[in-house]
């Protein structure tokens, strides 16, 4: 576990140091003096860690809303925004870049959604019951998880350690008033010094939610359950193996912003890993893992009234992969080396049922069985000096994609008669990050270069309907590799009771991949405006800046605040889509004698920089206020924790720039969570 502590040095300390679900990169003041080194490490290494479950430690009182969805946890992060197509399966964005520009892994495993319309970001296939934390690296600081432009997110699974804890378990239940959501979860764990097994399960069922002003949002219901088991066995004092199995299934998921719903989204995620404390005497924390996951996703429009044509759209995604990583300490240098690889099969089809039932079914492959192979090598060297540190990191990867299905290949050749069935690239990433401490100031600066291959849809999608801009999208197999030069800079002024951080980053993305209208092409989906072909823009530029602060008013009261501004334009200085307007959030938290309470405000200015060509309309300014109260009870040796809260207290009817087709967000919502832990 040394590696984790190195790369994410707060992992073992979160109980004491985190005072909120969100860790803003800085310790609470009273502990500050003890942890200078770890703190500076943290600042250099990672942007952010979002604590998720910690369920086994019953750490809930520190979370504003325990048992909320993983999506809500991620949204609470400083650097992540979630694109919403409904109440379920939100799509994370970082630095205003979405899935295809991010590397998102689950416990280091590459997983790819099976939906051509991005209705199943991989974050929808795990739940808070499985997870310990989300490790977030902005830009090339996320390259440890894979090739990326915007950043990387790793959802770390929650696992017991080898310790003689014996049995323990907990039961959790939650209810939310707005959408009548019930959540029932539990876990049961057993651990000895040689063996452990963790099991957990969670079930959620929600009805339609109501936006502010009691406006029902039709087709926003969902139901899902998730079950996971993981187990470890010590082979020797310094060796262990562990295995993980997660099964996740969602049914009857409504997507109010889209013309279709989902009848089934199913994932099986499995892995076996081997850990050894040292390797060849000089390496430490050697961890190797092989994994396999398979996803099935079935879109469904049978519940929708007035569909012009009924269609079935199932998709499958299968990924097998491995990684092996180790640390190496050499005087001031702390190396981390990782070799990883994966093989993915993405296949999706569409069958349309003609109104005239005498005509044959209309069938096409929307993802033509694309096989992606990727082998990468990541290395970083963290060099610590007296009052400063330097991190150098690189990722070199061989990436190839090919079309395995002849039907699909012939389909794409309609557009690209000369296309090759496979495409090979060599992807590079390089980053230099410097951290300097000057009295009470922490200064961080970085310059990085990164590349990414086009996604399956961008390269090989066939008439993928995007309801946001109302266009059909066609992939372009000969897209150039997208690359980014990125700089970031931040200054933190830190005093024992308060701190303030100003940070900014800038991405110059060459060969920026986006859909452009091709007027010569005829639409496929009935009612669409046109057809877009994925293409490389010369370049695009994205700029993000944030000012955040925190203040410990007293031991019990803490205040946090954040305001951020973003801008994204293409080479013609036209606005890029889905770029955040000015946004802010602020929270006052109270925690004393097992009582907790919070009052929070979040809002955004009007979206003045929007682009109608991408289906955007101007999103109005909004602000919402939420509040929560919690109490922890000790019942003999066990814990009972109760938390209640009210979100969007004034029942504001609003939507944000990330809301697909501007569907309104949830109105006033009252929730109650009860957790009981048996130690």
């Amino acid at each position: 576990m040394k590696l984790t502590i190195k790369a994410f040095p707060l992992k073992g300390m979160r109980m004491e140091y985190f005072w909120c679900a969100i860790f803003y990169g800085i310790f609470i003041p009273k502990l500050y003096s003890q942890e200078v080194q770890a703190d500076s490490l943290k600042l250099v290494q990672l942007n952010e860690v979002v604590l998720i479950s910690a369920g086994k430690q019953l750490d809930y009182q520190k979370q504003q809303k325990p048992l909320s969805t993983l999506d809500e946890f991620l949204e609470s992060s400083r650097s992540i925004n979630m694109v919403k197509r409904g109440a379920y399966a939100w799509e994370p964005t970082m630095n205003n870049m979405a899935s295809e520009r991010l590397a998102i892994t689950i416990d280091g495993m590459q997983i790819f959604g099976a939906c051509t319309d991005k209705m199943d970001p991989i974050t929808s296939y795990v739940d808070v019951s499985n997870l310990a934390e989300a490790q977030i690296g902005s830009g090339q600081q996320g390259a440890v998880f894979g090739n990326t432009i915007g950043g990387g997110i790793n959802l770390k699974l929650d696992k017991s350690n080898f310790s003689a804890k014996g049995w323990n378990g907990s039961l959790e239940s939650a209810f939310e008033g707005n959408n009548v959501m019930y959540v029932l979860g539990g876990d049961l764990n057993y651990a000895t010094e040689k063996f452990y097994v963790n099991t957990d399960g969670i079930y959620r069922k929600a009805e339609n939610y109501y936006a502010g002003g009691n406006e029902e949002v039709a087709f926003s219901q969902y139901e899902k359950y998730n079950f996971s088991i993981n187990s470890g066995f010590k082979l020797a004092e310094d060796q262990s193996i562990s295995a993980t199995l997660i099964y996740d299934e969602a049914r009857d998921v409504g997507y109010p912003a889209l013309p279709m719903d989902v009848s089934l989204a199913q994932a099986l995620i499995s892995s076996v890993s081997f850990n050894q404390d040292s390797l060849f005497s000089s390496f430490s924390n050697w961890e190797s893992k092989v994994y396999y996951n398979t996803i099935k996703h079935v879109m469904d429009d049978t519940n929708r009234p007035d569909v012009p044509i009924h269609m079935d759209m199932p998709g499958w995604s299968e990924t097998a992969g491995f990684y092996s990583q180790a640390n190496l300490m050499k005087e001031k240098h702390h190396f981390f080396l990782k070799l990883d690889g994966f093989y993915n099969k993405s296949y999706a089809e569409m069958t349309m049922y003609p109104t005239n039932s005498d005509e044959p079914l209309m069938f096409m492959l929307t993802w033509p069985d694309v096989r992606t192979k990727d082998v990468g090598f990541y290395a970083e060297d963290y060099i610590s000096f007296k009052k400063s540190s330097l991190k150098l990191s690189t990722r070199l990867a061989y990436h190839s994609s090919s079309v395995a299905d002849e039907f699909g290949l012939n389909s794409l050749k309609i557009f690209y008669p000369e296309m090759d069935e496979s495409n090979t690239r060599f992807l590079k990433s390089l980053s230099v990050l410097y951290h300097k401490m000057l009295n009470d100031f922490h200064i961080n600066g970085s310059i990085s270069y990164g590349e990414r291959a086009p996604s399956v849809s961008e390269g090989y999608g066939f008439y993928l309907f995007n309801s946001f801009d109302n266009h059909d999208y066609i992939g372009y197999p000969d897209l150039n590799t997208e690359s980014s030069v990125e700089t970031s800079f931040s200054v933190t002024y830190k005093k024992p009771i308060f701190e303030i951080t100003a940070s900014a980053n800038y991405f110059h993305v060459s060969n920026y991949i986006i859909g452009e209208v091709d007027n010569t092409l005829s639409t496929m989906t009935i009612g669409t405006e046109g057809v877009k072909i994925y293409t490389n823009l010369d370049y695009a530029r994205l700029f993000n800046t944030t000012l955040s602060g925190k203040y410990a008013i007293s031991n019990a009261f803490k205040w946090t605040g954040q305001i951020s501004y973003h801008r994204g334009v293409d080479h013609r200085n036209e606005n890029l889509p889905l770029i955040s307007p000015l946004s802010y959030r602020s929270a006052l938290n109270f925690y004393k004698n097992q009582y907790s309470a919070s009052l929070s405000l979040s809002g955004a200015g009007a979206q003045t920089n929007y682009n109608p060509a991408y289906g955007e309309t101007k999103t109005a300014a909004y602000a919402t206020i939420s509040s929560s109260f919690g109490k922890r009870f000790f019942l003999k040796e066990n814990d009972l924790f109760v938390k209640a809260g009210i979100e969007n207290i004034f029942d504001t009817n609003y939507s944000t720039y990330t809301d697909w087709n501007n569907i309104p967000r949830m109105g006033r919502n009252i929730y109650l969570t009860v957790s009981y832990s048996i130690n």
Binding site: P308, I309, M350, M352, P354, T355, N356, E359, P360, L361, M362, F363, M364, F407, N410, S411, K413, I414, F415, P417, F462, Y463, T520, L521, S522, T523, M524, I526, G527
Partner: protein
Amino acid sequence: MKTIKYLSLLFIAVFTLASCSKDDYDDTIVETDPMEAYNLLKEFVYTDHTVELYSEKTLITTGYNSFFVRIKDISTNTFVENVNLSWMPMMHMETMMHSAPKSVLTATETPSIYNGFIVFQMPGNTTEYWDITFNYTFKGAQISKTEQIEVQSPADVLSKVSSFMGSDDTRYILAYVAPTTPEVAINDFTAVLYKMEDMMTFTNVENYKVTVDPRMPGMGNHSSPNNEDLTYNAKNGMYEGKLSLTMTGYWKVNLKLLNAANEVLKGEDVTEDNLESSLYFELEF
């Protein structure tokens, strides 16, 4: 030594077997009926010979039909070469007769087998029928035989042939030839175009052009890119182009016939107001 002996034996055995099977293979070639893959539609039996009529299809339908014809000498049970075969299709209507566009019959790689096509403009019915007159030489005699055939509308009732009056007051017949099994791909698209000189004479039209615009009426008249107009190929006398089909289903291939001076003789552009051309083929797959 023993090993070597066994190895040599094995070697000889394998070699011999291989030689045997090679001979067998040659025999089968000779015995294989080159018409095996085709359907025998009709066998006309006469005193000393038969005329066999084969097709890729199991029926004779309106539109383009490719036929294979061969003549068998009953006495020797062999197929005869150099028979100087020609044919003449004829429609017997209640009040009149007319023929149909056809190719000449030419000998194939197997010289006893003749290949050619006929474009039937209409199906037969209870009172009106098609026949074909075959003219050939057999054992030095010039023979002419007329046999009735049954021409049906295709089972899918899709339009694969169009007989129409052009704006130049000439009657044309345009018939779909290929793809016989359309695919979601850019298909090689072939058609034949004939001009009706009189009831009995149809001549192959050269160097005109047929524009191609495939549409799916069931999908809001969805179309496809990279189609190519049908242009004349002097080598086979057919019109060849490309037909892109982006999905399975029902397609209406809208066409427009242009003469060598690029004047439209038949058909209209498909627009938002005009959903189809008056000249078209239909496809289902």
